[in-house]
Symmetry: C2
């Protein structure tokens, strides 16, 4: 726009920052007419290569007629330290108008959302600009049309798996906590010949994510082709989604959402379904747990999200059923990667059957009904039969082996060496378990970074307990962590006992 | 919170990024339980120094057990390349809760705003977090209480000038364009013994800022003490605000606002008044130009802002009068740093008197009435007398000299060597000058980076012109820029002639 400077000397910093940034001396910036945050077109005359960078301005370290570049720009221009390049001020990106439009509360068109998503995916937007977009989506929301556009834009921009044959199904839980239903559902479903290429996340605020627990049994950092070939071979896979670029724009948006725990509803729905679409899923069950201590606290919100999931799914050619589930109590008794992995295996081995096993069979059952494997209302029984017959366990062993794992039985999974049992000081009936507090205890004990650390509860809601009976066991890698976790548990007490007298008026 | 790692080896990158960032290998990040954007407490055992850094995560360049640090962290820890430090996950900042609260549309308390501003000023918030705050302020607005809190927080956090004696006055224009009224008002006001330590900005989107034009005459990058001592000596100064840390948080907020041209009303008001308070101003006149081609397009908005300026001023102990001015036509005929500087000097020399001179005397007159130097409605006449008597010119020469300048007369200011005169192709009366287009022509010609480039108009609104008479002259540093500016001017034509027939119906 305003001007250009030839022969700027490259000062190379050998590190990737994730953004294409060019650092200018303030005098050169003034000559170019750019401020920090404006865009420059950089070009290397020698090879004709060009790239667009966001300007940063300093009067330290970079002298006049120098330009500081990080690895991304160095690679893009095919240049190196000491070489000369040309910088030119460029017009602002079109996306910036659309971001501003969303900030003003106006609705974005499909083309506008696609443009923004593309610029995010390809790192053309600075953190400031991308955050302004994510903040606007959080504060102004995405309506149904925009959510559909967002899902389509995310799909268009990521890698995709295409299966030649077979029926591809999937499941996802929104903001669940403990218990690895996926590790039970995937083998049940895969036992029937359906394909279920499940990609999962690692824990962010919980004691374990499905990817963390599965990693106790096998390798979860699988490239795209591996996810495809394992699914084709054994029917299912449980991989870490972060290892594959299913939706690069979405990964960047999630990184922005993280520090402030933003989770704009429309964005969450688009994000989940786009990732399912990228692995080719056609039938998807969405689990929306509602409870005091989980992400969705209100049934009305769950209902609204459920409807949106179904509608957006339809628009992107996916049959979605969303279920609202009871999230008031923990799913099974385990908290922590190894504890939850062992627990899920024990369910498959027939050693345990509780609310986690129940939920897994119900969700698998819905998938069976959706694809016509089971008649209406008969899916649960079919799933239960597969679980109880041992076929699901056999399938799980095949999946573990295909993912390079060596575990054959739940007995082989060991917990962290330092442990502490906490006992009840009273007789009573357990009325409530505070999932958030149990999660915190497990995290103080070292989970999820220490895979074998965590908490095992011994009682669930509704169960009777006697004075001196065990309430929970904490496992930790060392004495210090055990101590911190124990002290927190004794102070906060995550159990509430039933009381018949609710209030006394004097 | 979760854990710590001792003996991470520092990999130093010798550059400042403006943020305290620590780059971790993904395995170390997992062990610490941190994600990109989370905070780490870094400590250097050798000297006991600590600092908090925002984590970034990579699997390139930084190996396991290494930690990448930029200059800010290196300095803060007193460490160097190859040395060992300890990293520990820390609790999130309290500010993040307040930012989220504002995003949800809730009102922030005084203490909450102060906490956020402090964290911005001291670089504790990442770009993502600070942008979320600025976006929330833009989308949800600041009410009067919040604006007052913001102004107080910005003042508390910046440097301050305190004058031992004298009455300190000031003026500010919100979103004006061409014409350097400040260069006329400051010497008029300073001639009477009032102190006017004026800090100004450089051009962002206009053809010149007051700091750019003043720089043609003298040095404007003055440290705090110089601003104080010059004001004490000659009564006035015209300095570049960017050279002093009057409100460091505000400078950072403005940097975030820039890429998307965000200008949340409350933030603008707090920002302007905080900077005035920081130089000790007690009486301030705020100029709010309203017009089709300036920032404020609607008189209602100007009125609302005016009232808020007055109220916020009162709360911070400042007497503010806000005036709504006619921004429909250019202020004087010049566009570009040198052109506008020369024009203002010519007004002081008595060679010109037009709407720019008129406005300058009106605004100076209000200040005289505010401090009691002039009786009500007599301020304008007093200012005009000072201008016409030559006392303002004499004062301006003192100011230029005190700021290290050598210019003695407007004749010494030269324009860029390549010029082009554009002539009218018709007889007529000028009805409108499109200030935005004239600004663009001046910028294509090289302003404000090329100080002597720009545009001189020859006619203002309401004036008659004959076919072949000059409409404007473009000045540029070289032929190429002249050509681009000329072509744009011929294509877009920034003048509209009066037409009596407004519409023909056939």
């Amino acid at each position: 726009m305003d001007g250009y400077i030839q022969n700027l000397k490259v000062k190379a910093f050998p590190i990737k920052t994730g953004k294409i940034v060019a650092i200018l001396h303030e005098k050169d910036a003034k000559e170019l007419g750019v401020m920090a945050g404006d865009r420059l077109e950089l070009s290397n005359k020698k090879n004709g290569k060009k790239c667009v960078a966001v300007a940063d301005i300093t009067h330290h370290y970079i002298k006049e007629d120098e330009i500081g570049l990080f690895e991304e720009a160095i690679e893009g221009l095919g240049t190196k330290n000491g070489n000369l390049i040309t910088a030119k001020a460029t017009e602002p990106l079109k996306s910036l108008d659309f971001i501003k439009k969303k900030m003003m509360g106006e609705k974005l068109s499909h083309a506008e959302i696609c443009e923004v998503v593309k610029d995010i995916a390809e790192e053309r937007l600075s953190d400031i600009e991308a955050t302004a977009f994510v903040s606007a989506v959080y504060m102004k929301g995405l309506d149904l049309d925009e959510t559909i556009s967002m899902a389509k834009a995310l799909i268009a921009d990521g890698n995709k798996i295409e299966f030649k044959k077979g029926i591809i199904v999937d499941k996802h839980s929104v903001g669940g906590t403990n218990g690895r239903a996926s590790m039970i559902i995937v083998p049940i479903v895969a036992s029937t010949g359906l394909l279920i290429p499940k990609t999962s996340s690692r824990s962010i605020t919980s004691a374990s994510g499905t990817a963390d627990s599965m990693e106790v049994l096998a390798n979860v950092s699988l490239p795209m082709e591996k996810i495809k070939s394992i699914t084709e071979k054994v029917g299912g896979v449980i991989a870490w989604g972060g290892a594959v670029d299913l939706a690069p724009a979405d990964d960047k948006i999630i990184k922005i959402e993280h520090p402030l725990s933003l989770d704009p509803e429309g964005q969450v729905i688009a994000s989940v379904l786009a990732k399912k679409a990228s692995v080719g899923s056609k039938f998807v069950v969405i689990d929306l747990p509602v409870g005091k201590y989980v992400k969705i606290k209100d049934k009305e919100i769950a209902l609204r999200m459920a409807k949106k999931f179904v509608q957006v799914g339809k628009e992107i050619g996916m049959h979605v059923e969303a279920v609202i589930t009871d999230g008031e109590e923990p799913s099974g008794l385990a908290f922590g990667p190894a504890l939850e992995a062992k627990y899920a295996l024990e369910v498959l081995e027939g050693k345990r059957f509780d609310n986690l096993a129940q939920k897994s069979c119900e969700l698998a059952g819905i998938l069976f009904e959706m694809v016509g494997k089971a008649r209406p209302a008969k899916g649960y029984a079919m799933a239960l039969e597969i679980l109880e017959s041992g076929r699901a366990l056999k399938k799980m062993k095949e999946i573990i082996k295909a993912q390079g794992g060596k575990i054959n039985s739940s007995d082989e999974i060991k917990f962290a060496p330092f442990k502490k049992e906490l006992k009840s000081g009273t007789d009573g009936i357990i009325e409530e378990v505070n999932i958030k507090l149990v999660t915190k205890i497990a995290r103080f004990a070292g989970a999820p970074a220490n895979k074998s650390a965590g908490v095992m509860l011994h009682k669930l809601v509704g169960e009777k307990i006697k004075e001196g009976e065990e309430l929970m066991t904490i496992y930790a890698e060392n004495k210090e962590k055990l101590k911190v976790a124990e002290q927190f548990a004794l102070k906060e007490i995550p159990f509430r006992f039933k009381r018949i007298i609710l209030q006394t008026i004097k």
